[in-house]
Symmetry: C2
Subunit: 443 residues, 2 copies
C-alpha cells in the first residue's frame, strides 16, 4: 500500500495544485522565552519568496499538544502550504509528528528503513541508539520522508487534497539544507512559473527620510509598469538599505529590469550608494584597496578597535590591513602616532587637528598608502557643552597629500555612537579611494 519510504528528494516530483500561500508554525517552548526567537521562519520566508510562495502568517507555540494542534489547524485554514519547524526530536516533548498526524487523522507507523539509518548514524560514532530515537522513525501513513544528512530527524511531506504539510527539524543546520533541496526539487515543481530576483542596495551618509524623499518618485513610477518592482527601505545605524525584487518567469527579463531600476536609483543617490549587490561597506573598501594594491592602517580612539575589527572581518583582509592602534590615552596618541602633545593641549583630543595628525602619523609610521583616524566622545561620560557626547572627529590621510577631516555629532548611546562613527570613517575612506581611482560610484 502507501507505506512511507525514505526517498531521495531529487526523485520526488509531486503533482498537485500550485502552492501560493504559506504559513509557518515554529514549535518549541524555548521560542516562547524572552531569550530565544524563531529565526528559521526568516530563512523559510526567503526561500519560499524565491518561488513566489507568499508567507501570510507565522506562529510560534510551545511543546504543548493543544497549542500545536490549534496553531496547525489555523495555519491549514489560511494557507496552501503549512511549514512546521521543530518538535521532531526524540524526546517526549517533541510532539509535532504526533499532533499533525492526529489532526489529519493519519496513523503513525515505524519505518524500519529510517530506524536503521538512525541506528547507523549512532554506530558510526561508536554509540548505541537510545530507544527514544525510534520516535523519529515514526511516519504518518502516506507521508513522503525527506532525508536529513545532518541529523537524526527526517523531514516529512504530507499531501492533502487542499494543502501540503511540511515538517522540518528545528536546528538551522538541519533545516536549511533540507529546505534548499526541496526548493530546487518538489517545491519548485509545485510553485507557479514566476521566480523572484532581488538586489540589495546600501547607502551611507544619508538619513532614511532623505533616501525616501529621493527615491520615492523613482520607485513609485515602477508600480504602474508592466513588470512592477517591489521596494523595501530598511534603516540601520549609519546605513540605509533598499531591497528591490521583481517576479517574472524569465530570469533574463527580471535581471534586465533590475539593472535598469538600479541605474535609475544611482541617478538620484549618486555616490552615497556604495553597493548594488549587497556588499558590506568593509567589503567595498577592501575591494578598492585590493584593486589598487594599497594598504591601510587605522588609528582609533572612541571606536576602540571597531573600525579595524570590521575591516578584518573580511576574508583576505590581511593583504591590505597593515596595522591598527587603539589610542585611548593621550600618551598613546603621542607615542604611537607622534601627535604633538601641544596639539592635544591646544585643541583637545577630540578635534579635527588631532584627528588629522593621528591619520598622518599613523600613515607615516605604518608606511601604508592610507590611514584612517577616529577620535570622539562615545559617552555616556566625557561630554561638554562645546563637545557633547556623540561628537566625533574623523580623518583620512592618503597618497599624494590627499587628506580629509570632518566632525559629526551622532545620536544614541555608546554602542550606537561607535557603530555610526565606524561607518562614517569607512565611508570617508571609500569615497577617497574612489576619487583616487577616478571611478566614483557603486560597483
Amino acid at each position: 500500500v502507501d507505506r512511507a519510504r525514505v526517498v531521495r528528494v531529487t526523485s520526488f516530483d509531486p503533482a498537485g495544485r500550485t502552492l501560493r500561500k504559506a504559513a509557518v508554525v515554529a514549535v518549541g517552548s524555548e521560542l516562547l522565552t524572552p531569550w530565544r526567537i524563531d529565526t528559521n521562519s526568516l530563512y523559510v520566508t526567503e526561500r519560499l519568496d524565491d518561488l513566489g510562495i507568499e508567507v501570510v502568517m507565522k506562529a510560534v507555540v510551545g511543546d504543548s499538544a493543544e497549542e500545536i494542534d490549534a496553531a496547525f489547524r489555523q495555519a491549514l485554514h489560511r494557507a496552501h502550504l503549512v511549514v512546521l519547524t521543530g518538535g521532531l526530536g526524540p524526546t517526549a516533548d517533541d510532539l509535532t509528528r504526533d499532533v499533525v498526524s492526529a489532526a489529519l487523522d493519519l496513523t503513525l507507523e515505524e519505518d524500519e528503513t529510517i530506524t536503521a539509518r538512525i541506528r547507523a548514524r549512532f554506530e558510526a560514532r561508536g554509540w548505541r541508539m537510545p530507544e527514544n530515537n525510534r520516535r523519529q522513525a515514526m511516519v504518518p501513513r502516506g507521508a513522503q520522508v525527506i532525508e536529513n544528512p545532518n541529523g537524526t530527524a527526517p523531514g516529512l511531506w504530507i499531501e492533502r487534497k487542499d494543502a501540503v504539510v511540511l515538517m522540518l527539524p528545528g536546528p538551522p543546520r538541519e533545516l536549511q539544507p533540507m529546505l534548499d533541496r526541496l526548493v530546487t526539487g518538489p517545491l519548485a515543481a509545485r510553485s507557479g512559473p514566476e521566480r523572484l530576483r532581488r538586489r540589495v542596495l546600501r547607502i551611507a551618509g544619508r538619513a532614511e527620510s532623505h533616501v525616501e524623499e529621493l527615491t520615492q518618485p523613482v520607485y513609485s513610477a515602477w508600480q504602474s509598469q508592466d513588470l512592477p518592482i517591489d521596494t523595501t527601505i530598511l534603516a540601520a545605524p549609519g546605513q540605509i538599505e533598499l531591497h528591490l525584487s521583481v517576479r517574472t518567469p524569465d530570469p533574463e527579463t527580471g535581471q534586465r529590469r533590475l539593472d535598469q531600476a538600479v541605474q535609475e536609483l544611482r541617478g538620484v543617490l549618486g555616490r552615497d550608494l556604495f553597493t548594488v549587490d549587497g556588499k558590506l561597506l568593509e567589503e567595498v573598501v577592501g575591494e578598492l584597496l585590493r584593486s589598487r594594491a594599497e594598504r591601510v592602517a587605522i588609528a582609533e580612539s572612541c571606536t576602540g578597535g571597531l573600525v579595524a575589527s570590521r575591516l578584518t572581518d573580511v576574508p583576505g583582509s590581511s593583504e591590505y590591513v597593515e596595522r591598527g592602534v587603539v589610542c585611548y590615552s593621550n600618551a598613546s596618541k603621542v607615542e604611537l602616532l607622534g601627535v604633538a602633545a601641544s596639539l592635544i593641549d591646544e585643541h583637545g583630543a577630540v578635534s579635527e587637528p588631532v584627528a588629522s595628525a593621528m591619520a598622518a602619523g599613523m600613515r607615516e609610521r605604518a608606511r601604508t598608502d592610507w590611514a584612517v583616524a577616529v577620535t570622539g566622545i562615545a559617552g555616556p561620560g566625557g561630554g561638554s557643552d562645546l563637545k557633547p557626547v556623540g561628537t566625533v572627529a574623523i580623518a583620512v590621510a592618503g597618497p599624494l597629500g590627499r587628506a580629509r577631516v570632518k566632525t559629526v555629532r551622532f545620536p544614541g548611546g555608546r554602542l550606537q555612537v561607535k557603530t555610526q562613527a565606524s561607518q562614517v570613517a569607512l565611508d570617508l575612506l571609500r569615497r577617497m579611494l574612489e576619487d583616487a581611482s577616478g571611478s566614483p560610484g557603486a560597483r
Copy 2:
C-alpha cells in the same frame, strides 16, 4: 455613557478575572519579509513573565484585515490576555484598531481629546497635523485609552467578559515605556500574587554538554522542592548561560532561594562561572581592573581589534584601557611590540612564543599592569596541516612576572573564530586578575 477617555495609567485599576495566559499578535507586513523579525514579543514576554502571565502563543500577520482578524480570533480563543502590537499608525495600512473593533462588535468613535493631543504634538514641532492622523484618535466604544508620551498612537485596553485585549504601538520606544507602566499598574492588579525573580549566570571555558552534565543533578533536584526553580541553558560561541527563575508571592523568599541555588551551581562550576548577575565578560574584567586601579593594553592579530572593541564597549573603560594595537603584519609585530623577527621566523607568527612576546612587549611599551595578546588563523585561508584554520595562541602578561599562554583550536568560520578567541582572551585575563586579587570566583 461609557465614552472613551484619555486616562493616566496610574489612575486605572481594573477589576476582573486574573490573567494567566497571554497571546501576542504582531501586525505588520514588514515582519513577514526575510529581513525583519518581531522582537517586540520578546519584551512583552519578559514583562508578562515577571507577573506570572505565561505567553502561550505568538503570531505574526501582515497588514491584511482578513489575516489580522483570523489571528486575533484565534488568540482570543487561546488566552486571557491578547496583546496586539503594531498597525496603529495613521495610514490606510494600519488596520489593527478597525479589525479588533469589528471582531468585538464595538463601534469606533473619534475621541476629541486624543485628536487635540496629537495636534498639539505636531504643533509643538511647528507642523500641521495631517488629516490622516485623526485615525489614531478613533477609539472602540468602552475602551480605555493608554497615553503614549513618545508618539501619536495611544494604546487601547478593552475589557471583555472573558479576556483583556491590549493594543500597543509597534515602535519599541513607544511600546516599551507604555507596557512598563501597564505592568506596574493595571496588569499587576490583574495578575496573580506570584512574581518572577531571575538570575542570569554565565560560564566561560566549558562546552554546553559539559555544563549540562555538571549542573543537571543540581537543577533536577530543585524540581521536587517546595519552591521549584526553572532552569534554561543557552549556548553562544564561547559562552554558556544559565537562566534561573522562581515564582513566589514573597520577593525575599524568592531572592533567598535563588541565592542558595546560585551557591549550589558555584559549587559544581567553580571558576568557570564568571557572573551570577548577568554581566558581560568585558564588564567583569573592567570591574576587576577598576577595583585594582590597574590598566590593560591589548595586542591583537587575528581578532583584528575585537578584544579592544569589546573592552571599550563598557562605559568608563577609558579609565583602564590604555591602548591597543592591531598587528596584522609581521612588521607591525616587530615595530609596535618589539617582537624579535627571529622569533617569528623560528616559531611562526601563530605560536605561543610569539604570543608571549607580544604580551610582554605590549605591557612594557604601554607601561600598563596587564597586557593581552592574540595571534591566530581566523581563516578561511592561511591554515596548514600543523596549524589549521582556527588555531589561536593567546597570552596574558601581568605584574610580578605573572604570565600565561595557551593555544586553542576553534571551530566555525572567520567571525566565530574571532568571537571565540576574544572570549578566551578576556577570560584568561579575568582568571589572572582574580588570582592576583586572591578572590577567585564570580562576583
